[in-house]
Assembly symmetry: C2
Homo-oligomer: 432 residues x 2
Amino acid sequence: MNVSHSATLAANEELQRRRGSGERVLNLAFGEAGLPVHPALRERLSEASGHNGYGPVAGIPALREAAAGYWERRGLSTDPELVVCGPGSKSLLYGLLLAIGGDVVLPKPSWVSYAAQAEMVRARPILLPAPPGEGGAPEPDRVAEAVLAARAQGRTVGSLLITLPDNPSGTLVRPGTVKRLVQVARELDLVIISDEIYRDLVHDNLAGYLSPADLAPERTVVTTGLSKNLALGGWRIGAARLPDRAHELRTKLLGVASEIWSCPATPVQEVAAYAFTEPPELRERVVESRRLHGTVARAVHARCIRAGAAVAPPQGGFYLYPDFGPLRARSDLRTNADLAAMLLEKHGVGVLPGHVFGDDPAAMRVRLATSLLYGETSERRLTALASSDPLSLPWISDALDHLTEALSDLVVPRPGGTRLRHHSLVSDVASG
Amino acid sequence: MNVSHSATLAANEELQRRRGSGERVLNLAFGEAGLPVHPALRERLSEASGHNGYGPVAGIPALREAAAGYWERRGLSTDPELVVCGPGSKSLLYGLLLAIGGDVVLPKPSWVSYAAQAEMVRARPILLPAPPGEGGAPEPDRVAEAVLAARAQGRTVGSLLITLPDNPSGTLVRPGTVKRLVQVARELDLVIISDEIYRDLVHDNLAGYLSPADLAPERTVVTTGLSKNLALGGWRIGAARLPDRAHELRTKLLGVASEIWSCPATPVQEVAAYAFTEPPELRERVVESRRLHGTVARAVHARCIRAGAAVAPPQGGFYLYPDFGPLRARSDLRTNADLAAMLLEKHGVGVLPGHVFGDDPAAMRVRLATSLLYGETSERRLTALASSDPLSLPWISDALDHLTEALSDLVVPRPGGTRLRHHSLVSDVASG
């Protein structure tokens, strides 16, 4: 269960060493939003610095009410009593797996922590590929098949987890797929866990967003947080909307929460109670962030396509999951770990290899996180955020050139000097 | 595993309801330090409000170095690389049980979360009473016996957990007992987990404090935090000093931490990096707090003794664990849960029944937390903290009278009107 941490750490340490010795590095390995704290949030934290009580395990009432309002504004009727907050949605996901029990169906690839958490609670993750061209949810027919097979072997399967939009692929599952998954979950009596931490960062067309909770609020848990939309990853605050009338699940989850983390940091809860009301100044910040994430992710996408990779266009968040297989990469690169190591060692470019997301080690896929391209300082990041043309900022344009240079090393020269370009179409990056 | 949370919640809700309807309540149920945040800590939190990165799982280097310094000043050579911080020492304890593996030996009674955590990681807690007159550590001979018996049955026993000073009894294990426990742990190859979160709140005679880490730094994990000494419970920050050269345990613990909580809230880490250096203004605050906790705990002790209970004199923290068995209580009270319910319902006094600490449900023992007697407002609490005679403050003196009144209801009137007083000697409150 330490793979992800170690892989991330190793990449981080190597990048820091290189940066320390004056080398040029490009950090595409970390899923941090890469933007400064909004001043209104800083002010609220200062104001809340006198709050030192433990408070309720589920979170202070003002926070739970604000989070309920957040979901209400997205068309989802929410009882504040069924909102549970934690120190990050990660901790809530762990608590949910423990409280729901049984094995969990996951998309393949999917965020590193799902499978690791499942193993920690002694559940078996059942990893299934997404429908062609999608990412973040397993193909519904295969879910039915796999769950029935597992149950026939005497296993208990309790839940199905999806990520909307997805990490690592940056894509959004189609409404039709969500509908089919809900139907399968109903037939098989599975709890659906919908990780919607990147929801506010869908680049366009928010109107088209369909959460399984919209269709099956009685069996869907939605998780979110402020780590991505407001770049508060280090503040550790997340929230879960439990299924309607799921008081038993709530009791179990609070039992877990009370024995592991007690409550999120109280001053942070006070800030979150304000943030989840979505005042105009924070809405504007989210809109700006979404625009910047989309612009830079699309620019990186274009570079990958130009280099000959197969990669789905980014729809949300700040990730891409290119497949360099079409290039047949280079003969010395046999696994995505080799590919990531080469990019790091030869080019100072940090990425995460696909195998940490549960993908086939031999598939030449890596995750690129594009959010640390906005600059090394708060000043540069704010400039990027405010810019109508962030790609023209010299530090961002340099970083993109650095990436292009590294990617060009993956292209196999052909006799006559033409490059392999036949795989530049969008392909099924998210399927296993 | 939800018992403790539910019991606490139930007491809290009933107390709040009563307070809401204007009734007089006395909250002796909660282990919160009951003091305001020191202004220097508030300032540091404001200054750190721009920090939003995730940072290292083990905590930022400045924090780990400061925590190492904290232990160095207590005579314990500490490598900052072997310090791991988390959102409260509770989360670290959970991570340690998971990382060490196997069953865990616990004192009986002991803090509610140890046994609950053990069950959550599917370990079996082995609860053993303390030596007569002590609390917070199991009797060493019985540890050897129980571990050998468990192993003979094929069970794995990985660790032994002690609390110095203890919650719930407020007492401190004698150095001789610590020595014998270390010897047993060496013979049986057990990791010792020493929960020292109340260490700075030993009322007197700090020089006499012996940690198992002083004797066996190669097999002892020490945990601490800022929840008790600096009343920052709601800020969620704890630290663990791993055994010398325990790099493998560190890797495992960081694997758990990275998959459950990522890191403590970054602004709080910045504050803790300052607090663990123990600047004069915070040292003074800890000295004042220790004095107040001791004064009030001793006053409550005297009231319990006067009422005829058997109870060890408090040595650290803000707890007492009186035994009302000598009074044979009242015939309608058959369990400590009955006793706690009667105190709550009839007198508005909230306490925790001994059974939540793993004690015998029929033993008439309850835990009294004395730290919420200092006042309802920050102003009153600061007044109490600064007072040379806090017991004379009207709100504290009223609270003590309220307690005396409730305790008097436990005394069985005898023919001739004399009270049962024959059990006013200190007794073995911490043994099972």
